[in-house]
């Protein structure tokens, strides 16, 4: 193993300088998430601004002309950025025509009998009409803003009434006399149910990026072998005074290092994306999102060490296993393009295992079924997420051991392939003289 480090160094240098690896595996995923995050949060921000500006410019048609309708108009005028235009009683069509002329997007109609109904303790309503010029986020948000304003007035009215009637209750009691406190019991702990949804989201996002990267791993290791064929460096490589197993290991470790770099790069991009979108959402949407972010998520259920111990080995074993499959694909192919096409098929079994597994409830299965599922290749990362909650670490251990066993078997196949002259001569099809690699005499 004297030359392993030397070979790895060359491998990493060569792969990092390969333009399509540098661009597509390392720079692009990060850049894609950063651009997506910036564009989405930017457009959301713009939409919010548009919606708020539009909502601030409101026309009110007061058909009631009572004390409570006057109170509503006063309430609207007291809001910051408010720009209220009162319009005369007319038909809706005429009112909308006026709105269009004055570039006002919302018409609020206070119906006749509004104040009388409230005075008598009967429910009433305020009608809002939003002029939608096209289907857009800001137009959808605009209606939400108006509804929010009316509901704000409604709450204010409620507290006035409660005060006037000298009721011995709070306005909150009137609107929601019974609240639900939803908890879940998980891993011998009682935690708010919000923690569970937060935790699942966090864990899946932790493994989501590396899973995407795993798809690239096969392509990277296939390239590292395919490039030897295409650039005709393989023949010399195989006559160097280096153990062939070292060549195999250097290619696997080289691809692994590049994959980890790709994971880090994509990870940074993904977290940036999540940060931009989440911070925008908490500014924009419901209180529920804000409330959700107040909980610690996964770390209220499992410790950091537990998370690292479950996730990291599962991902590493899967990455190196996939890298080996890519290497074999590369060894059997003629050039980089065909190596990458063959390696590209890794997505199919990968997602065929990962997606159904993500939806299955492992904990409710019998032990034999759990073990059978754990024996499936590529299963460790998803099983890791599941056992973090169920605590059934034997299933994860089985899954990792199985993957290591498959890895060793494939490593043997790869080592045999590397020491065989088939690597150079290619595979001969029986019926024809066609070979994957042409050989010369």
């Amino acid at each position: 193993m004297g030359y392993l480090m030397h070979l790895i160094k060359k491998e990493v240098k060569d792969l990092l300088r390969e333009p399509h690896i540098l661009i597509f595996a390392i720079l692009l995923p990060a850049l894609m998430y950063i651009i997506m995050g910036t564009v989405i949060s930017g457009s959301m921000e713009a939409a919010v601004k548009q919606a708020t500006t539009a909502a601030a410019k409101v026309a009110v048609m007061d058909l009631d002309r009572g004390s409570f309708s006057a109170l509503f108009i006063k309430f609207m005028e007291s809001l910051p950025m408010s720009n209220i235009t009162l319009i005369e009683n007319t038909s809706i069509n005429n009112a909308i025509k006026t709105l269009m002329e004055r570039d006002i997007r919302t018409l609020i109609i206070i119906p006749r009998g509004f104040s009388t109904n409230i005075s008598r303790g009967l429910p009433s309503y305020i009608e809002s009409i939003s002029i939608v010029k096209e289907l857009s986020l800001s137009s959808m948000m605009g209606t939400g803003v108006i509804t929010g304003l009316i509901s704000g007035f409604s709450k204010m009215l409620l507290s006035i009434i409660v005060k006037q009637l000298n009721m011995q209750v709070t306005p909150e009691f009137i609107t929601e006399p019974i609240r639900t406190v939803s908890n879940v019991y998980i891993r011998n702990k009682l935690v708010p149910s919000m923690v569970l949804s937060n935790a699942s989201g966090m864990v899946f996002s932790i493994i989501f990026v590396p899973l995407i990267v795993i798809g690239y791993v096969a392509s990277i290791s296939a390239t590292s072998m395919g490039v030897e064929k295409e650039e005709k460096t393989l023949e010399v490589l195989l006559t160097l005074p280096v153990n062939r197993f070292e060549i195999l290991l250097s290619k696997l470790i080289g691809s692994f290092i590049i994959s980890v770099l790709a994971s880090i790069s994509a990870g940074i991009g993904f977290w940036y994306y999540m940060y931009r979108v989440m911070s925008m959402s908490s500014k924009t949407f419901t209180n529920r999102t804000i409330e959700a972010t107040q909980y610690g998520g996964i770390f209220e259920i499992v410790s950091v060490n537990e998370l690292i111990l479950a996730i990291i080995p599962s991902l590493l074993v899967t990455i190196i296993f996939v890298a080996l499959i890519g290497f074999i694909a590369g060894a059997l192919a003629q050039n980089i393009r065909s190596a990458q096409s063959v390696a590209g098929f890794i997505w199919l079994p990968l997602f065929m295992v990962i997606f159904p597994l993500a939806y299955l409830e492992l904990a409710s299965m019998d032990p034999v079924s759990k073990i059978l599922i754990a024996l499936m290749p590529f299963s460790p990362p998803v099983i890791a997420v599941k056992v973090l909650f169920s605590g059934e670490y034997y299933v994860l251990l089985t899954s990792i051991v199985a993957s290591v066993a498959y890895f060793i078997i494939l490593l043997y196949v790869a080592a045999r392939l590397l020491s065989s002259e088939r690597l150079l001569l290619g595979i001969r099809w029986k019926r024809t003289e066609h070979t994957i690699f042409k050989f010369r005499r």
Binding site: Y3, E18, E231, T233, T239, P241, E421, R428, R440, R441
Partner: protein
């Protein structure tokens, strides 16, 4: 002492017989050429000696080591240049040479000397620090020849060393091979279908045709034995019997 001993080599690719009992010996310090047309079995023979292919039967020894059973030992004393060889295109010429030198050198100093020697042999000058992908075909071949020779192997195996080169570059490469191997006592086993190259380069040659050695000897002696004015005529007369 014989650096290469090849005895009754037979090689089948499926049903195709590529080598049919090839035997020859190469002495220490000698430049030995395998001469023959395309498909004669030259590359197969060289690939077997370079430990890349396994013979169907027969044996090949390099410095007494069997190329199949003791392939690891053989790889330590040979340096092989395939006909269609490339270098890692994303490395610079110097990085490529450094990578290769460190696999053979006993010390850092030794590796540095090898690289300096190779830069001189290649004649690439300042271009040595450019990436290999920017090199012309001739520059790449000169880099590869330099890589093969810089390690001063016991046996240099050169498959069509001037393949694809123009007259000027071919002449440069031939001079390098002859001068360098003579200076350092490197034994060379080469193949070529260029008779001019063979006459200039080789001390002894073997004529190979359809997987068999049809004759062997010093170029001058062969010409006088066949009463031919050049090696092309020698080859034509020699294969007369096996056509």
């Amino acid at each position: 002492m014989d650096v290469v001993v090849v005895e009754k080599l037979v090689k089948y690719y499926g049903k195709v017989k590529a080598l049919d009992g090839v035997s020859f010996r190469v002495s220490e310090g000698e430049i030995f050429g395998l001469i023959g047309p395309n498909g004669a079995g030259k590359t197969t023979t060289l690939r077997i000696i370079a430990t890349l292919l396994k013979p169907t039967s027969g044996k090949a020894l390099v410095m007494g080591y069997d190329v199949v059973r003791e392939a690891d030992k053989v790889r330590r004393i040979i340096s092989y240049l395939p006909e269609e060889a490339g270098a890692y295109k994303n490395l610079t010429g110097r990085e490529y040479l450094e990578f290769m030198a460190q696999l053979y050198a006993r010390s850092k100093r030794d590796a540095e000397e090898m690289v300096e020697e190779a830069i001189k042999i290649s004649g690439l000058g300042d271009r040595i620090d450019d990436r290999v992908k920017t090199y012309s075909k001739g520059m790449k071949r000169r880099l590869l020849v330099a890589r093969t020779l810089m390690v001063k192997p016991k046996l240099a195996i050169l498959d069509e060393p001037t393949s694809g080169l123009d007259v000027v570059h071919a002449l440069h490469v031939r001079k390098i091979i002859k001068g360098y191997t003579r200076k350092h006592g490197v034994t060379v086993l080469t193949s070529s279908h260029n008779m001019l190259e063979v006459e200039y380069l080789c001390d002894r040659i073997a004529l190979i045709h359809k997987g068999r050695i049809v004759d062997e000897g010093v170029p001058k002696e062969l010409k006088s034995r066949y009463g031919a004015s050049n090696l092309e005529e020698v080859f034509e007369m020699a294969i007369g019997g096996v056509r």
